[in-house]
């Protein structure tokens, strides 16, 4: 065998390995989604969405957990958005390249890797006990906002970095101040990327269970929250609760709950992809 043939063979082998790696994740996901769909799809109807929790699997619904999740999502967005984007703009546009700012940067990246249960403990002490929010939707949202803040900051900075230098230069050349440049040029130009980062961070937040259990989210709540100070449950807790029950009917419920939760994350990811494509075209 000459060298050319040998190299071609290596090439083929690597290609096959690459295909295997790509398919592995997708196939596993497909198997998982398939089995969940088989188990749960027949359970999903309007009653399942609007019913309260119940001891009887066939009467139980996800209404309060779903509303809790929606509340958490909205409030977390409201809290994490301005803080995260503000911090990213400061680090990217205003901060000098000093030791302090590189220390900040390292710490923010590290925070992104802290296990979520630690944020739960932090939230329990600060928001629930010291600030005395109680085990409320607000305390849960603040905790999750902290959890996703590093992701929001990092992705916002990436989006700002991706804005072509020519846009900045043009803006300054016309005599715009830094703030005018940021607010009128950089933010609109990078909003696709920023939005993508935020939505991906929120898809993570909507699936979190551990930190919310720690701060005292409940398993049985017969009402949807009507204010940020109300107690709440969320979908992942409801699913976890069902899956550990002895009666088989609850397993079906859990599968159905998982379908709804997956649907929410898929839709959110879909929105992220849509906005990214739209903005990318605009600024090329």
């Amino acid at each position: 065998m000459n060298r050319i043939k040998k190299n071609r063979l290596k090439d083929q082998i690597f290609k096959a390995w690459g295909i295997f790696c790509t398919l592995l994740g997708i196939v596993l996901l497909a198997i998982f989604i398939g089995s969940i769909l088989v188990d749960g799809i027949q359970r999903i109807d309007w009653d399942f969405i609007t019913n309260l929790p119940s001891r009887k699997a066939e009467r139980a619904g996800i209404y309060t957990a779903l509303m809790g999740s929606v509340w958490i999502l909205v409030l977390t967005t409201i809290i994490a958005l301005p803080v995260g984007i503000g911090a990213a703009i400061y680090l990217e546009e205003y901060a000098n390249k000093s030791k302090l700012s590189s220390l900040l940067e390292i710490n923010i990246s590290n925070l992104a890797g802290v296990p979520s249960i630690i944020y739960g403990l932090l939230g329990l002490e600060i928001f629930v006990r010291v600030i005395q929010m109680g085990s409320s939707v607000l305390a849960g949202s603040f905790t999750l906002a902290l959890l996703i803040l590093p992701i929001v900051i990092v992705s916002t900075r990436e989006a700002l970095k991706a804005v072509p230098k020519s846009i900045r230069d043009a803006s300054y050349a016309l005599g715009a101040s830094k703030w005018q440049t940021v607010s009128r040029q950089l933010l609109p130009a990078s909003s696709g990327g920023i939005l993508t980062g935020i939505i991906l961070a929120l898809s993570r937040a909507v699936g979190e269970t551990a930190p919310l259990i720690v701060i005292g989210a409940l398993a049985y709540v017969p009402f949807a929250p009507s204010s940020p100070m109300d107690e709440f449950s969320v979908l992942p807790i409801q699913i976890f609760n069902w899956i550990s029950r002895p009666q088989h009917g609850f397993e079906v419920n859990a599968a159905a709950g998982i379908i709804i939760l997956l649907l929410i994350t898929f839709v959110m990811n879909g929105i992220a992809v849509y906005f990214r494509n739209k903005w990318q075209k605009k600024f090329k």
Binding site: L52, V70, L195, A219, P246
Partner: protein, 314 residues
């Protein structure tokens, strides 16, 4: 950016609709504690809602210990517990001036199960179970024939609840003699359904968990009788409630805070409903009711506790 604000505004508007139910005069009852007792209390809360829809009952699942922590701080009205309150937990409650009452609401049996293909075991004595599960068995008791020479010379595979669960505490206390003392080399899971899967897929498996999980999986598992000194007894509604399935049947408790009784008449109402309705609702969730006399006893105990505290108030 503007679009995002719009989305947020719209979703907030959507949220604020359909939430005007709660404006009426409502009172709330906060419950937390054991996840084993949770299904019972959930069933009661669900039924109580049709009795008195203006009372919001909320239930958490922090576990028996976590529940007592909140109860001792006065954060909850009622605490679910799968074991009696411990001395140090009691002390914390006393420090915070919290008087409380302990009420038994149901029985739970622990089933010892093997694979249906296992044709050699019909009955374990407590000594045999102790020999299998005590801390000293770790690494030494590894084969079935070490427990009884007539049993096969095959590895024994053990499945049980994790150390954080009240079920684990109870089993170790009843069998080994000391709560929490057990060998560590067994497959542990907080989710009993995982244990069911384990034993049902392993001919040489052995496990223990709540009776309700056996009853839902009768086709996949075989229950083993336990001899607590007076012959082999299989767990059933009958043997658990009359106490003959010893030592693996246990009572489940709820604890009620006295100041909740003084401040919120609905708590008294709810507890009366609890003790009245428990016998008929327990079957749905897989637990065993107390005998009618025992319920009567618990009701009287609660009544005198309520009277004592309502008189104190005046």
């Amino acid at each position: 950016m503007r679009k995002l604000l719009l989305i947020t505004a719209v979703s907030l508007t959507v949220l604020s609709c359909g939430n005007n139910k709660k404006d009426k005069e409502t009172s709330s009852i906060n419950i937390d504690g054991s996840s084993t007792v949770y299904p019972v209390t959930e069933a009661i809360a669900e039924e109580y809602r049709s009795e008195d829809p203006d009372v919001d009952v909320t239930i958490g699942v922090s576990g028996t210990g976590g529940g007592f922590k909140k109860f001792g701080r006065g954060e909850t009205d009622i605490s679910n517990a799968s074991r009696p309150i411990k001395e140090d937990e009691k002390k914390i409650a006393e420090q915070n001036n919290i008087d409380f009452i302990e009420l038994e609401v149901a029985y739970d049996g622990l089933a010892v199960v093997v694979n249906p293909e296992n044709d050699w075991v019909d009955c374990f004595t407590v000594e045999q179970l102790k020999k299998i599960w005590e801390p000293g068995a770790q690494g030494t008791i590894t084969h079935w024939n070490q427990i009884n020479p007539e049993w096969p010379n095959e590895e024994i595979h053990l499945f049980g609840p994790g150390v954080a669960s009240g079920t684990f505490d109870y089993f170790t206390e009843a069998i080994v003699g000391e709560s929490g003392s057990s060998r560590g080399d067994y497959t542990a899971s907080e989710d009993d359904n995982v244990l069911v899967q384990g034993v049902s897929g392993d001919k040489y498996g052995l496990g223990f968990f709540g009776l309700a999980y056996y009853e839902e999986n009768e086709d996949k598992l075989r229950m083993v009788a336990v001899d607590g000194g007076e012959g082999c007894v299989e767990p059933s509604t009958q043997t658990v409630s009359d106490g003959s399935y010893a030592p693996l049947s246990r009572p489940l408790f709820v604890y009620v805070n006295s100041s909740s009784i003084q401040n919120n008449p609905k708590v008294v109402d709810f507890m009366n409903f609890y003790l009245n309705e428990a016998p008929s609702l327990l079957k749905d969730v897989g637990y065993v009711p107390l005998t009618p006399e025992e319920y009567k006893e618990q009701k009287e105990k609660f009544k005198s506790f309520v009277e004592k505290h309502q008189n104190n108030q005046k």
